[in-house]
């Protein structure tokens, strides 16, 4: 599945359509959007950047892991890069499965692994003009070679 990264707004309708199938009775669409929150202050936009070659490889590994764990799941995702205004989606994950339980599970797996492993960074822009790299919530040293590394 190619084209994980884009610099333009994500077409979620097209993304959903790309996973639709006659045998799938459940489709889940997850969107991560740029937000304003108390702890982040007066954010007006977030600039996303990536180590593109590795981000693509890591997305490939995550999607392959999900496909191995939930056979029959149909998965498409896009991560947007560049300056993204408040309220617009930075990531969209579309999953279609025969039933809803696994569709939710697959969607959740992909976003959680993305946040742990995919080399993408964000820099907040504030009303004041200040710019600030976003540090993720404290985590245990998150990353070891994914299971594909052992294959």
């Amino acid at each position: 599945m190619a084209g994980y990264l884009t610099h333009t707004p994500i077409d979620v309708t097209a993304l959903l359509a790309s996973v639709a199938a006659d045998g799938c009775g459940a489709s889940v669409l997850f969107l991560g959007t740029v937000r304003r929150s108390a702890e982040d202050g007066d954010v007006t936009a977030i600039e996303y950047s990536a180590y593109a070659d590795m981000a693509k490889a890591e997305f490939d590994r995550i999607v392959n892991e999900a496909a191995g764990r939930w056979p029959g799941a149909r998965i498409a995702l896009r991560h947007r890069l560049g300056l993204i205004p408040l309220g617009e989606a930075s990531i969209a994950i579309a999953v279609a499965c025969p039933h809803r339980a696994e569709a939710y599970d697959v969607s959740r797996y992909i976003i959680e692994e993305t946040k742990k492993r995919v080399p993408i960074w964000k820099k907040e822009r504030h009303d004041s003009g200040e710019e600030r790299w976003v540090k993720p919530a404290e985590r245990v040293h998150p990353v070891s070679p994914p299971s594909a590394a052992r294959a």
């Binding site: 180590y51 993305t114 998150p142």
Partner: protein, 98 residues
């Protein structure tokens, strides 16, 4: 086959006991060090830890954390991962995608 050029090449080949890796820096780390990419020459048998040690010779590297995440050829690696000539080594700041 003539001996002259062949033996000369062999000498050059034998004396090249180094690996050259391409070190990539991103996001806050690129800002801290003021660059996004640099070649690093190391003795054969060097590891990820050796690249980090070399990088720390740059005073600006004091702004890096004690043990940053590192990827080799687009895959997360460990400090003892051995490097080969031409490897792409990347320091990965804490990721914040999604």
């Amino acid at each position: 086959m003539s001996f002259g050029p062949v033996s000369k090449d062999a000498v050059n080949e034998g004396s090249r006991s180094e690996v050259r890796v391409r070190l990539l820096l991103f996001a806050s780390y690129a800002e801290a060090l003021g660059r996004t990419e640099m070649p690093v020459d190391l003795p054969t048998g060097s590891s990820v830890a050796d690249v980090l040690a070399r990088l720390r010779q740059d005073p600006a590297a004091g702004r890096l954390p004690p043990s940053p995440l590192v990827a080799v050829n687009q895959r997360y690696a460990k400090p003892d991962t051995l490097l080969r000539d031409g490897d792409e080594v990347a320091l990965i700041p804490p990721v914040a995608g999604g």
